[in-house]
Symmetry: C2
Subunit: 458 residues, 2 copies
């Protein structure tokens, strides 16, 4: 039995094991779920040991633990691969009851596995574990030394990870860093991500009266905090969709002709955007194509807003306060802390004297990351995708963020390969997240090809 046939023979076992992990509601942003994060970490450690990895440990951090596992049996002359993934998942708030099944009771429907974390990122992390298992169980060995670094705070800013990396540089030392936490263009067209946006998240709160007021008794004489908040937020973009926070674009490097050529290869255009999302028409900076806006331009997004009465019917209050959640996606050369400071200053300048405002960082996130696409491990990835999908992958800059990528690159001085197996319609961060099972199985096959090709190239 070859590693490939082993993986085929155990395809359904692999799915059932993944379901077990998905049943643990490891939402890192909700502090009351801390025990579930620990449960997900220990489940992973035990699973690593069960498939032949020789060491697996749960390292505590100030928030959620990091799981480290390794198999170094390929010997000191073989290359070492560090696989990064995360076992935490996005929240599942569902005010409109859109989830068709329990987010933490994964179910298969029409070739897809539905559940929170199915693709982001438990499912994609699992691909690497199953590639290792298939090879190791079929042959008793693995082509490279392999280390796993799986964290529990990716969806909430990866705040504990930089210190862990700094304290464990030797433990994590590797020749290549592989991450599967992104998507390809379609089941027929693979792609390799060579750029990720940076990110930070913040919240702005506006305070007016010391308590809620009756809108009849006081309406017309005090600045309603909901109104003041919307007036502030409405001034953060101009009519063309440009961010108006002073200094926001100062450090953005001009888009080079080669970047524009690469981004022009993306299949994402206005028609595809409208089809995928259902919006009446696209929006955003008119000087940039859709693919450029996603991959190469910074954004300021309002992820949430709340204030006053939000239940059924009406309640005639002037609320005491109102709050909005903001995230900024950043491009290379933009520093998250500096942009956050600009946002603070910008909102302070927009706040009228009739209310008080506060801007608070939620997660400091991380800067954008770029991958040199001529690195040798990239060649292995190209060949691996081609072997399984029958066509060469396109190179894309993605709009998403993996906050720690730039930090890992810097601390370990290691080339990064971003090999995604998600699809654009996987409903990441949204209701009905799914992983197309064909992609899960193709992912395992692709990674087997990748790991087999790597020693000859490095």
């Amino acid at each position: 039995m070859t590693p490939f046939t082993y993986a085929e023979a155990h395809a359904q076992d692999f799915v059932e094991q993944l379901k077990e992990w998905l049943r643990i509601p490891s939402i890192s942003t909700q502090s009351e779920l801390k025990p579930e994060l620990e449960r997900a970490a220990f489940w992973l450690r035990d699973h690593c040991l069960s498939i032949g990895l020789t060491r697996a440990e749960v390292f505590p951090t100030p928030r959620h633990p990091v799981v480290y596992a390794e198999w170094l049996g390929a010997g000191p002359n073989a290359p070492t691969v560090l696989v990064y993934g995360h076992y935490d998942v996005q929240p599942v708030d569902d005010p409109y009851r859109e989830w068709k099944s329990d987010p933490f009771e994964p179910v298969e429907r029409e070739g897809h596995l539905y559940g929170r974390g199915a693709t982001d990122d438990k499912g994609q992390t699992f691909i690497h574990l199953k590639a290792f298992e298939a090879h190791f169980r079929a042959t008793g060995s693995f082509p490279v030394n392999v280390k796993f670094l799986v964290e529990g705070e990716e969806e909430s800013g990866s705040e504990s990870l930089p210190a862990f990396i700094q304290a464990n540089v030797d433990l994590l030392r590797a020749d290549v860093l592989v991450i599967s936490d992104s998507h390809i263009i379609s089941t027929e067209q693979p792609s390799l991500v060579y750029g990720l946006r940076g990110i930070f998240t913040a919240e702005v709160e506006v305070f007016g009266p010391r308590g809620d007021l009756h809108s009849g008794s006081y309406g017309g004489t005090v600045h309603n905090p909901v109104q003041a908040l919307v007036e502030i937020l409405a001034q953060l973009h101009d009519a063309q969709g440009r961010v108006t926070v002073p200094g926001f674009y100062d450090d953005v490097l001009p888009l080079l002709a080669e970047d524009r050529r690469a981004l022009a290869q993306s299949p994402m255009d206005e028609a595809r955007l409208v089809k995928e999302t259902g919006v009446p028409r696209p929006w955003g900076e008119p000087d940039y194509s859709i693919a450029e806006r996603i991959g190469a331009r910074p954004t300021l997004e309002l992820n949430g807003i709340v204030g006053g009465w939000i239940g059924e019917g009406s309640k005639t209050v002037i609320p005491a306060r109102a709050l909005a959640k903001i995230s900024c996606r950043l491009v290379p050369n933009q520093d998250p802390n500096q942009i956050f400071a600009l946002l603070q200053q910008g909102i302070a300048a927009l706040t009228p004297p009739t209310v008080r405002s506060e801007v608070r960082m939620i997660h400091a996130g991380g800067p954008a990351a770029m991958v040199p696409i001529d690195a040798k491990p990239i060649q292995a990835a190209v060949e691996a995708y081609e072997a399984v999908f029958g066509t060469r992958p396109l190179f894309l800059r993605e709009g998403g963020s993996i906050p720690i990528v730039a930090g890992l690159q810097g601390a370990l001085d290691v080339p990064v390969v971003l090999m995604g197996f998600g699809l654009p319609d996987d409903n990441l961060h949204a209701p009905n997240e799914k992983f197309t099972l064909a992609m899960f199985h193709k992912g395992i096959q692709t990674m087997l090809h990748f790991y087999q090709r790597l020693p000859a190239l490095l």
Copy 2:
């Protein structure tokens, strides 16, 4: 024993009875609480019968029942008073845990009775019942015929009441309509309300993508519905606080010199507003005084807003939709349905082609109401306040609304007397609603004086 000494002797009994009624969570805007509304209505009917009223009935309506009760023992030559009140209460949403005690477990603290509905309007309605009881139990009679009309939808638009009134004009026929659902200036300075603003409530919802999107994958290319909503809402007022909805002020009558003189008597000014509310500074139309803005100018208030992630931490979504709750307070000559139509048109015109919006009426409310202050029953009210408080009441236009007042005036062709016993710091519609017990007891004394004086004046 006189009616006055009876009321004094039974003061604590009256408070304990009121507490029983306050324990029923009769929030009319929350449809799942319908059984509690019925419980509150039947409690009231039984209580009416227990204090000597000769008839008390619960009339079903399409939503919450109306309670009617009467005592007509004064005979056909005595005047008949119709008392209007409401047994429904405001919601108690409490995201910041500001209620110091259970809103539906009323408690006395430092001379105040805390609980939802304590003053608005179970407590103030109860004043009339207790005035009747005190007089009837002490003397075996009452100076006037009395009818009670107590509805269950005042806090949610009084939608069922107009049809009930039309169908029961003869039943409700009276010489004077008395309502206690407002406040006076202070424990030392009584006031009589001669104007109430009209009201309607509505909600606006903005729709973008068909489902929530990952803000990394799509950020910068679709118009975020939260952003589009705040951009629309921010355009509903100008920098001076004027409502910019086209046509909004078209039917507003100019403020007459006599109105301005009357409103100038109000103790409400900038200093008092800041002290009462804690806002950094006042806000609103600069051409009008604080008392004029409250009593004589229409408003458009954002009572609530919600969209996207509003929990702990962050969630990097572009939400599929966002919603705001709006109420407009109206002045005489403004028609709620017409102003609602203007709001719909205004928001449609402000909605960019990148999203879709809907404006829906929540409660059609009612128009503003004005009371002729030279009517005879007003004289009885002035004397009654003076007898108990030792000083003549000021005449004020209030900013609040009792949607049905204009409808009752019109259908029954009857003079209205608005005799409030609340205080400005009663936290109406807000956490920690209270009724100052001294005001409850003074209210009963005042109403006894009023009812005794009425026959000589009419």
